[in-house]
Symmetry: C2
Subunit: 299 residues, 2 copies
């Protein structure tokens, strides 16, 4: 599992930073959070693969977070995609897509399924769930939480062999958490497997002020990407425009017990967000700045 940043600028892009788009790349699926203008080009540069299963989660209906949906859908159609695409977003997302598909004469080759989000669980998969929490921005906006379900412990083939369990069906049974009989001996999953692995949690803030509600929502995240539009001296601007400073992101991360903080959505005034990282590091011990095409392997 990895996080790939396709765009890390605030509303105004620069020659180095495109508009917001963050992908969580799972084994067989891509979860995309926001799709700002240019997302499809960054998607190609990152070689994420057009034909994978994809779900897209939009935080809010500002152009720099969703205009890229149009080009993504168009290019997928030019690639003759047939698999559906699920798009989650706040009220208005249906109208945004419907109006543009009609006016721009789109011919989609695949179904687009639109889910209008509200707070709480919005998607429940075998391996993970996606929840939503209201954020605090100039228009209705939401944050997302990816919560992986706990996974069985690691399977140790040598242990199974030592206990005389034949490879194949019986190994599979053990991996599924069931006991097996080898002759008249019972072998338990715990005999051949490590401890159950806790599911990983990844938070994506979208555009927001820091709030107590979000602090609760992101509790215990392994990784959290958070709105860090401004440095500490522009706190007033952050409040006025309903964004956050890097310091505020770090404070929220610390209070929420987030293990790793990734700053993103930098104002175009910062050519290099080095100073913002330094400010955040004064409050939190694991902080990095996102940049376009940065990939982070989630252990």
């Amino acid at each position: 599992m990895k996080i790939v940043f396709l765009g890390t600028s605030a509303a105004q892009p620069t020659v180095d930073r495109g508009m917001t788009c963050i992908c969580l790349v799972l084994d067989k699926e891509i979860l995309m959070f926001d799709a700002g203008e240019g997302a499809q080009i960054a998607f190609q540069k990152a070689r994420l693969g057009w034909n994978k299963r994809i779900r897209i989660f939009v935080t809010h209906l500002h152009g720099d977070h969703c205009v890229g949906l149009l080009g993504l859908l168009q290019t997928m159609s030019l690639q003759n995609r047939t698999e559906p695409v699920d798009i989650f977003g706040p009220a208005g997302i249906e109208e945004f897509l419907a109006a543009n598909l009609r006016i721009l004469n789109f011919g989609l080759t695949f179904p687009v399924r639109i889910v209008r989000i509200k707070e709480g669980l919005v998607h429940d998969d075998i391996a993970y769930s996606i929840s939503v929490c209201e954020a605090e921005h100039s228009i209705p906006a939401y944050s997302y939480l990816f919560a992986e379900k706990d996974r069985p412990g690691k399977f140790f083939p040598e242990k199974a062999k030592k206990l005389g369990v034949p490879e194949g069906k019986m190994w599979h049974e053990l991996q599924q958490g069931n006991e097996v009989k080898v002759g008249d001996r019972t072998v338990r999953p715990s005999d051949v497997m490590g401890e159950r692995r806790k599911g990983r949690r990844i938070g994506i803030s979208g555009d927001t002020r820091p709030t107590a509600k979000l602090e609760e929502f992101f509790k215990g995240c392994d990784y959290m990407t958070f709105d860090s539009t401004y440095s500490d001296d522009l706190l007033d601007k952050a409040k006025e425009n309903y964004h956050s400073t890097a310091v505020e992101a770090a404070r929220l991360a610390k209070n929420a017990g987030v293990s790793n903080l990734i700053l993103t959505h930098f104002s175009a005034r910062y050519e290099d967000p080095e100073a913002l990282v330094a400010e955040a590091k004064a409050l939190h011990n694991s902080v990095i700045a996102a940049k376009d095409l940065l990939e982070i392997e989630i252990k």
Copy 2:
């Protein structure tokens, strides 16, 4: 005057080619033809300047030719632009802009004036005019012609000095085409100026099949950029999708007496359009391929 290519791909962009956007940069004004997704980023890369007077001409309402308008308008607003922006386009352009400005909660800081185009003259300026001709594409689409007005000949200061014309007001009169009196001698503009300079003509095809009508429309162009989506062996595909091959572009350019042909709008299948240029050169003696950020000085 120069042509700057901001995007040169067909509908599907590549990592090297963005979606269609062509700028004609005049002394005090930018004329932009189409604004595909990513136009605002290429615009920044080319350092064209956000605060210049700008007029945008849209050829047709396919996403890869107009979605970039949204980001351009948003970024201009973030820059606190106050000068109006004029957008010319086919029926539907008003709805495209109005729907998105409303749904995406745009706060524009400047007036956007929309002109719905039809065939004929659509803009008449002191120094140039813009005309429109119906193209042949899968939806209503148009080609544009920039026609500079004839300019007075070059002024030669040495000649004026030799004839005793004092610098200042009298030079200005001569440059404006008026005679002046120096003592009792009459000095005519032709005594101090070169021959009247013919206005330059630049054609922009947009997406189209080659047609007899366009051949007439582009007659005598100094430069013409033309839809060259495919190589000659894919003529069937060009017909099916209402585009042109490079060979067809060259044939039309030759028949229309176009001096210089610039191929653009290349299908993503061509990593390098070298072969398309070679095919076109067999028919026309001045052919080049556009590429992103290419600038051509128009002499």
